[in-house]
Symmetry: C2
Subunit: 348 residues, 2 copies
Amino acid sequence: LSGFRRHVLVLAGGRGERFWPWSQPDRPKQLLPLASGGRTLLRATLDRALTLADASDILIMTAKDLVPAIQAEAPRGVQVLGEPVGRNTAPAIAAAALRFGAASSFAVMPSDHVIEDLAAFTADLTSAFDLAEKGGVLVTFGIPPTGPETNLGYLKQGAVLGGGFARVAQFCEKPDRARAEAFLGAGGYTWNSGIFVWRSDAFLKALEAEKPEMVAALRGIGPAGDGGDAAFERVFPTLESISVDYAVMEKAPNVVMREASFDWDDLGSWSAWARRQPRDARGNVIVGAGVRALDCDRCVIVSSEPGILAVMGLEDTIVVRSAGGTLVCPLAASDQVRRVTQALREGA
Amino acid sequence: LSGFRRHVLVLAGGRGERFWPWSQPDRPKQLLPLASGGRTLLRATLDRALTLADASDILIMTAKDLVPAIQAEAPRGVQVLGEPVGRNTAPAIAAAALRFGAASSFAVMPSDHVIEDLAAFTADLTSAFDLAEKGGVLVTFGIPPTGPETNLGYLKQGAVLGGGFARVAQFCEKPDRARAEAFLGAGGYTWNSGIFVWRSDAFLKALEAEKPEMVAALRGIGPAGDGGDAAFERVFPTLESISVDYAVMEKAPNVVMREASFDWDDLGSWSAWARRQPRDARGNVIVGAGVRALDCDRCVIVSSEPGILAVMGLEDTIVVRSAGGTLVCPLAASDQVRRVTQALREGA
């Protein structure tokens, strides 16, 4: 026994707007049944978390208005904490570290990624817990890149430490296409998975070095249950909105990485989703009883509503019809779907 | 006074499937509000007919199941006769000629075309009535072609008769593209409008020469009102299904034509409809409060339903969302929309 109680923090506050119109403000990507076995991405994340920690040692942080929907997906015992306003990942992780308390370690997991190889995931995370508890390092997982993605951060691998771990030489935020291609050409770069493992004390120390006022404000809240959640609601909105990558990972001297041996897909767009779906003889992904595709090639046509959706003579196009609306755009523009939700928010 | 009572026969039995999903089996093209002033095409046709004949001298022939919807559009006094089965235009026109009786003349008008210049239309038709009543000829109207349409028949003009009339040298059914282009290059060809004017006796004589059994069967029915409609329902299904073009116009020696001085559009497709609509700065036709077009050029986007229809990054594409379904296809394929309705009928 290491002496550290292992926890999991699941981050489930995202709005997942890239799956509009299937995703909606009250049903974001992590609540869509995009994982194997018809599970939501959140439920699949929790299933992975349960291989590492007891249900009562798992905490989900999400937006306050999503708490009921998130709770409905969580097994008994899992705790759900609603953020009164979004403050990005650093404040949420710091609040969790303080709740987990002294002599704890925890993994941070986004709730909207697809990971199917449960055994490899559990083995990788367990080895990270072992190292983090022993050495006080901040462990992050890198994903071997399959293309010059511009919607992901990159990790540049540094000195090898043994046991599958290495120093992180550099954190590189979402690059432009040319830079992403240069990374791939150079080798030694992996995608930043957003999955971390560390001791609570080690994380708080690293954050304190950069954002002492954030940690101090959260320490002042006191333990949950003793009026702690009311204090949390009061204090949280006053915190700086900043990602853990900027606040900690780019600066801390004790960051180490492990190249993931598990599969990973962040399902960043409809086209990313479509790559995982069965296709017909002409390369179309067809979902929904009312869909009719005539002379279509490599289209993605999804209808969750009654009635007919007929698509004729198109190539490489997405058509999605759901209760939340209808979307039509080129497959290549599927990573720009946020422009639609932005326009809708702005009342355009 | 010519001694002939003038009537109008409005043909309203078509299913107008090219406007799917807006058009539906129970709401075909002629019942869509595609004419000026928000009128249905049928209502606009009746408004034109009323400049030539009294309401009680106007007869609409349609499919039996459409009678109630058609009657709802017809002014008081207009008669509506439902065909128990479709038999194309020749039997319908012959039945009308017999109903109108001796010493009558009539115009035949399709109910799903757009004609906006009422004065020119009335003047053209009146001159045709005058000539037909005097000379016993069969008058048809040719439309100056604006392009090599392959969905229309063509009239080749023959010897000029004076008064704006000429012989028809040849009736040419829907040609292929190369032939249509040759017609336009040669000159002297007009589109067959499907609008005819003749005396009832002249028409029946011409039909009798080719299809004596058809006329004989209809003569046996007797006048409507004396059990005539029951007899009509029994006899009509036994008649040959054939168009007036094949049965009469291609063969009769006394066919004359007049080049229309009125505007005319058969609205043969969504793209034909779109040509008549206002466009935004990027050439898009946008109809419906829920439509959002982002980075679209020359698209036709129509939504008659609540909710959002977002189209992004497309060119020259039609997206139509109605209670009857949703259609997405290239603008250039809009004349193939019947393939969709055909697939739906076949349960494909």
